[in-house]
Symmetry: C2
Subunit: 173 residues, 2 copies
Amino acid sequence: MSMDRRSGCPINLSLEVFGDRWSLIILRDMIFGGRRHFRELLNGSMEGIASNILADRLKRLMELGMLTKADDPSHKQKAIYSLTEMAITLVPILAHLGAWGRVWLPVSEELSIRAELLEKGGQPMWDKFMDELRHEHLGKPLDTASGPSVRATLQAAYQALVASKALAADSAA
Amino acid sequence: MSMDRRSGCPINLSLEVFGDRWSLIILRDMIFGGRRHFRELLNGSMEGIASNILADRLKRLMELGMLTKADDPSHKQKAIYSLTEMAITLVPILAHLGAWGRVWLPVSEELSIRAELLEKGGQPMWDKFMDELRHEHLGKPLDTASGPSVRATLQAAYQALVASKALAADSAA
DNA sequence: AAAACTGATTGCATTTTGCAATCGGTTGCA
DNA sequence: TGCAACCGATTGCAAAATGCAATCAGTTTT
């Protein structure tokens, strides 16, 4: 995880930032899952990251300028991690990545409903989402007060799908 | 490089395909550099990939369905690697990745001119490029015969910039 | 006072990576 | 015909990254 300055190519440099198995998973959980604390990231990730790797990646993402850390006023020991603008602008890339994975890889239906909605929403939805993230993480005012948040919308769709699947499984049993 | 099925999340699965330091570099060189042979990829990469890693990644990308290999009729020993449709549809992601890197990372001017043009060209340029790649790699007919290829355009811009920089350096000396 | 939770850190075995040398076969040229 | 250069790899080995479990000191909850 050192890998410094192989070349000045934009794609290479991007890869040097999140060309590993975990960095983008952490950012995904912060962006789409709204996770801000170490334990939330540790236990919330479906992929089961180890605590030492998480600690290492959080440190690295901070050094790279993708995250910042602050004290949680409600708990002397808690740290709150925030996305920087640099990380927030990954939203379109994550949307494209999800869309590509949905087409070509064996995704699960529940976990890909969010990617599907995000893809259909297109740039306007991504812009709205990024504004919401700027509000949450950077404290910027949220000028356009327009309905439920993108994250809530995605989450609701996910929950609805899980519920309908559980119902179908129940009625079959 | 085993990492199988951590979760069915589209972003996670995408990361399992090219969440490493080299896979996307190889695809970049094939897509933008037009490289098709082992040695071209080995010596052409600015980042200096090792031959065993290259062999391993080519094998892996074939297993994943991103590449195919065929005999080169002109040379009994040569193998020609081709992109599949799955890999060709990465073009928009690479374009976004390059655009993001150009904004946030210390890219070199020469190496980022391509990313800049590709970003400005937008979806129409990406579509044209993907059609050209389908022609080159999949043998599909190229219906819209429209001017110089995208790769040639990008390459020319790169060469022009390198030349102008060399000129400036000469006149300064 | 005890139990649970906070963000980590440590030690250790396994896996992956990067590097250099090398392989057997093919080709182009003298 | 000989021989150097080139072809796509493969091997051996050291260094680094990863994954796992146990643990830490401090904080909050019960």
